[in-house]
Amino acid sequence: MKILIKGGRLIDPASGLDRIGDLAIANGRIVGLGDVGEFSAERVIEAGGLVVAPGLVDLAARLREPGHEHEGMLESELAAAAAGGVTSLVCPPDTDPVLDEPGLVEMLKFRARKLSRCRLFPLGALTTHLSGESLTEMAELTEAGCIGFSQADQPIRDTLVLARALLYAATYDYTVWLRPLDAYLSGGVAASGAVATRLGLSGEPVTAETVALHTIFELMRSTGARVHLCRISSAAGVALVRAAKQEGLKVTADVSINSLHLSDVDIGYFNPAMRLNPPLRQGRDRDALRAGLADGTLDALVSDHMPVAPDEKNVPFAEATPGATGLELLLSLALRWGQDSGLSMAQSLGVVTAAPVRVLGSALGSLGASAGRLVEGGVADVCVFDPAASWAVTPERLSSQGKHTPFAYEISGFELPAQVRYTVVAGHMAFEAAAAR
């Protein structure tokens, strides 16, 4: 379908493009950008007053499939991605069964392609069953479509296994995605500190993150591995990542929307919506994360999307399943962070478009040339949104089956900025907002 998006504010963080203009799409590609000449479109979108940006790239979203097929998770969550303007997402391997076999990966990719809502880039398991003992067939999994390898939230306890996994991955320069989490220091349901002490909740100390970071960096030095650090949550963690980058280690890092905006005080009266992994730390950790994302120490902002069913949340805090819905909030929260930090819209969008693509690097293959970017001749993955609108996060407004989020209107009383109007994936309309919102 030939689509012409007219008169919008074209913003491409990667190239610095920021102007009013048109965008023409044909055969799944951008065929005109800026001043578009003759173009007979089958669909014309009047984008006056709207921003036309690259489709968002979310480096962490759980779709809970395989495992929850009966709940139609893949359909609903990819629809949620499209509703959030996300055109590419990375999903971790902690599904049921774990993504440690090429067949499972192929099936998942096939099903996602059929739904045509969002590009899916699965992470393969680093060890079989994520048990931290034997390596998976990383080369086979890469061929099946994995863009990296991960242990999700289950750190490898045996340092020797971790060292060998990094060394083996380094053979092929695969990126290993690790959550810096010490297996023995972790397990607390809230971050150690005055709030956890007062509420009588078991605490996870900062050392759970920093001890793991030190270990990972040491092993990177000896193996030459490339590592992407998932969900940095503390000021001390940000400082260690900064030093590692300065040293020249092949490391990138991301932070979740939850850690970026909230702190442990938000737990309030044991609100299970605040039961998250990593746990919400103190205000000064949040401030360091915000500064780290702004100065590039932290590369990307992720939704850390985890749809949780109501009876997994309507239980006492420590028993609640950690996680929150996030795909539909990623854009709004990126913009909110940018506004609070005095950054330009391009900078705000950069952490959810160009930067995540840089993290993915060569794993994206030819797609890497234009994913997360608006490039003439490149793929037509586009997000058109209204920067002036705002919306209240209520269960009715969410397409995801996960309705629990700390940013729910009934908790915060605040609306979030920006509303997605159109999402285009590979040149066709994956999402279109209802007329009146």
């Binding site: 500190g193 002490t197 009588g200 909740l201 309030g268 009266y269 006492p316 420590a318 009934e410 908790i411």
Partner: protein, 320 residues
């Protein structure tokens, strides 16, 4: 969902649930203590019953076993002429069974007026209070490590009974504070009532530094902790602390942090010794001290029934 307003108070600022001492106005604490005084005298009469809760059903929901606490709540409710139902729902980690909220919903359908809840997870009573019918009152009988408000209140009643004025006191709380809901409730109550010096005493693994944010002075030396104290509250030491690598042995704990006559002598001569019970003789407290003249451990139990009668009657009289 959970609002920012203290869920224990209705919009008139009256107590409709007792979930934690934190956030209670000083006036409400005094009301409870004064009312407890009335009930104490009731317990001395021929007829120990008053009809205040007649026709009301009090359901004891104990998800964590405790015969002692459950019995005192049962006695208190019966002395108020309430109908009491005991539900011991053993918490098995493997058998999930009915969810907490389903249990509560089923019981509400049986016309419960008040739930007395003990649960091993901090925050569970808040969840129940949030989801039960508006006219139902929830009393927290202990949730995880978070709070045991009726114990805190009876401890305050005990202190007021023997020491009269809170504003001149030095109170030392000794032992496994990080895991203790009693300690947290006591600390909140002592702060609200204006006690100027509250000390938390124990080894670093049991008394972490960030306790000071709750308004206490952290002491890792027993002698320093009890010196010139007016009140010493000893906490029970549980065996799990040894297996969790927080303490080497009960013996070493007793040597350094146990309340012996020698340590007690460092406190004021008329200092009182308290303990929420059950006591571990020779672990946190020497037998001679537990049975000695300064120990008020047994009066605490008597006060406990009166305090619980006070709490239940005040709650029952306030509308959501």
């Amino acid at each position: 969902m959970l609002s920012k307003r203290n869920p224990q108070l209705n919009k008139h600022g009256e107590l409709v649930h007792l979930l934690s001492i934190e956030g209670l106005p000083q006036a409400i604490i005094h009301q409870i203590l004064d009312t407890a005084g009335t009930f104490l005298s009731v317990n001395d009469r021929e007829v120990k019953k008053v009809p205040l809760l007649r026709g009301k059903s009090v359901f004891n929901l104990f998800f964590e076993n405790s015969t002692r606490t459950r019995t005192t709540f049962e006695i208190a409710a019966k002395r108020l002429s309430a109908d009491v139902l005991n539900l011991d729902i053993a918490r098995s980690s493997t058998a999930k069974g009915e969810t907490l909220l389903d249990t509560v919903a089923n019981l509400s359908a049986m016309h419960a007026d008040m739930f007395v809840v003990r649960h091993s997870e901090s925050g569970a009573p808040y969840l129940i209070a949030q989801h039960c019918a508006p006219h139902v009152h929830v009393v927290n009988a202990g949730d995880g490590r978070h709070a045991h408000p009726t114990q805190g209140l009876l401890d305050m009643y005990t202190i007021r009974h023997f020491k009269k004025d809170f504003r001149n006191l030095t109170v030392a709380i000794v032992g496994d504070i990080v895991h203790s809901r009693v300690a947290r409730s006591d600390i909140h109550a002592l702060n609200i009532l204006g006690v100027p010096e509250i000390r938390a005493v124990g080894p670093k693994t049991l008394v972490p530094g960030d306790l000071k944010d709750m308004g206490v002075r952290v002491c890792h030396d027993m002698a320093e902790g009890v010196r010139d104290a007016d009140v010493i509250i000893m906490l029970r030491l549980q065996n799990e602390r040894m297996s969790g690598a927080m303490l080497p042995s009960a013996g070493e704990f007793f040597k350094n942090f146990g309340l012996t006559p020698e340590k007690l002598a460092l406190a004021k001569p008329d200092a009182i010794v308290m303990h929420p019970g059950p006591i571990n003789r020779g672990v946190e407290i020497a037998s001679t001290v537990a049975d000695g003249a300064q120990s008020v451990i047994l009066p605490q139990v008597t006060f406990g029934i009166a305090v619980r009668m006070a709490v239940m009657s005040i709650l029952a009289g306030n509308e959501a």
